[in-house]
Symmetry: C2
Subunit: 314 residues, 2 copies
């Protein structure tokens, strides 16, 4: 039974990040055949966007050192024709590797804060943008769609709360470079709904349309879904999520898991918002992946649906 | 850093249910001295309402068979003068036991659906109300404050989705019997934000003021905080929550945990909403209780704060 709210969008596009953002944090690398099968199953649930991998140097993220082989396997997997399979590219070299494999959509990854830019990317915020500029230009020239990730949009472990004006400025610059879409990351999961509203308002004032803005929440403090609901009220229609809540280690002291796609779909379908996703198949996919990883899914919806029949969907 | 929203209340009263709703589900009974210490620590965090126990017959809930002894211990515990310590009373006999111990506030517990009334209370909905009538009357006569719980307000495992008009009618009847406040329970955790809005609108149309309505969400599908945010937008200012997310077994297949008080407080303080609660002390209390129970707290905020410094509160 669905209860639509006219203040919310009729349809939401889910940008599934489990295979990339989830699996890049696994201590033990997942075999490339399992990754390809995971993506095949995710596509079969009706998801129309699955971020497949990252063309980062294997020295930095050895878990994704199989990016070429994965894309070859996916090309033979008989995936749905309209499926979007973006990949992350950290620099020009990564972009060329992706282009050589026929990738149609890429994402670049920047930080809003100097501390995280230094710690994670080993460069300043301005240096990052300078590196992105030719990457984005070349990708657009090749007819690709380009997403710009911004991390630490709400809080930073070293700098504390991040001013919304600074995030709005960085977002505006990524769009000016040619990015088609922004993804606002709450990397350490500290955002609350009022902060989400304030940031989206500031972005709007900087000329960034909510229709070009995705949100990427982590459930570290349990706020991801309440924050998502607030973003939808501000006109956002693209939400990043990770099947089964993959990403980080949810049972570690400092949980950093992504919003679980299943928890998101449960809310959206309850609100009568279309996603195109079959929740039963998605849950089965996450249960399958959890068995492979040898630990239960942190998604509450996965745990509930895997144990009992769904009361909402019947 | 707080981001207030003028559409939300300035202050929320948290009705802490951990000692009763949480501990009644523990397989092994918790020693009464630990319960008393738990309540003492909860009160010291600034919570102004802590539901202490239930005067149900020990045959049904043996975990709470120590209700008399607990109240005696609490009377000697030097609790803050204004602290509210409601107890659940299932019938006239329970009420008399509570009155004899000087309890000032009680709650009665009804179901909206016939199936759950039969399964949990072994009587029909109308029979429950008939039993409550003299209980509420006697409690009011004795100058007590009375809360009326309604369970299965959104979905029922046997009956599926529950019509909002039926819940509104049951709520209206409990107030007509003399209850001061309603608590709307999503016992199986299936509610989504649109459903919450629809129910609160129906209650308003039945003459039930949101100011007299509390919400009681379970996080079975991860929806509790998004639902709470929606309830606040509809004028609700009392929210039930359980310290550390106690209640049910969050690691079992069908998780049925209560909304964790810490996750709620993180959101409310981020929105600039006063609670009077010290989040650090509350987290420490839940860590202490989790150590006693021998398993980690399912609250994401507890896990995050217990492992790393708080970025929001600094």
């Amino acid at each position: 039974m669905a209860f639509p709210d006219p203040a919310l969008p009729a349809r939401v596009r889910i940008h599934e990040v489990g295979p990339r953002d989830g699996l890049q944090n696994e201590a033990a690398a997942v075999p490339v055949e399992i990754k390809a099968e995971f993506i095949r199953r995710l596509a079969a649930t009706g998801l129309d966007t699955v971020e497949a991998t990252s063309f980062v140097h294997p020295r930095w993220v050895p878990q994704l050192g199989d990016a070429e082989r994965l894309m070859e396997l996916l090309a033979q997997a008989g995936l749905p024709a309209g499926l979007r399979l973006p990949v992350l590219v950290p620099n020009r070299r990564g972009l060329e590797r992706a282009l050589a494999l026929g990738v149609r959509e890429v994402a670049v990854f920047g930080s809003v804060t100097e501390s995280f830019a230094r710690a994670n990317l080993n460069r300043s915020v301005d240096e990052s943008l300078a590196i992105f500029e030719p990457v984005v230009a070349r990708a657009k020239e090749a007819g690709m769609r380009v997403r710009g990730y911004l991390s630490m949009c709400f809080g930073d472990p070293w700098e504390g709360a991040v001013p919304v004006a600074r995030v709005a400025g960085a977002g505006r610059r990524l769009l000016d470079l040619g990015c088609d879409e922004l993804s606002l990351g709450d990397t350490i999961g500290v955002a609350t709904p009022g902060h989400v509203g304030a940031l989206l308002t500031a972005l709007g004032e900087a000329g960034v349309d909510a229709a070009r803005t995705a949100v990427h929440f982590h459930d570290t403090y349990g706020q991801a879904l309440a924050n998502t609901l607030t973003a939808l009220r501000h006109g956002v229609t693209t939400v990043d999520a990770s099947a089964g809540g993959l990403g980080g280690c949810p049972y570690a002291k400092s949980a950093t898991g992504n919003l679980a796609t299943e928890d998101l779909v449960w809310m959206l379908h309850g609100l009568g918002i279309e996603t195109g996703v079959d929740l039963g198949r998605l849950t089965a996919t996450s249960v399958w992946m959890a068995a492979h990883l040898g630990r239960p899914s942190p998604s509450r919806t996965v745990r509930a649906l895997a144990g009992t029949p769904s009361h909402q969907e019947s």
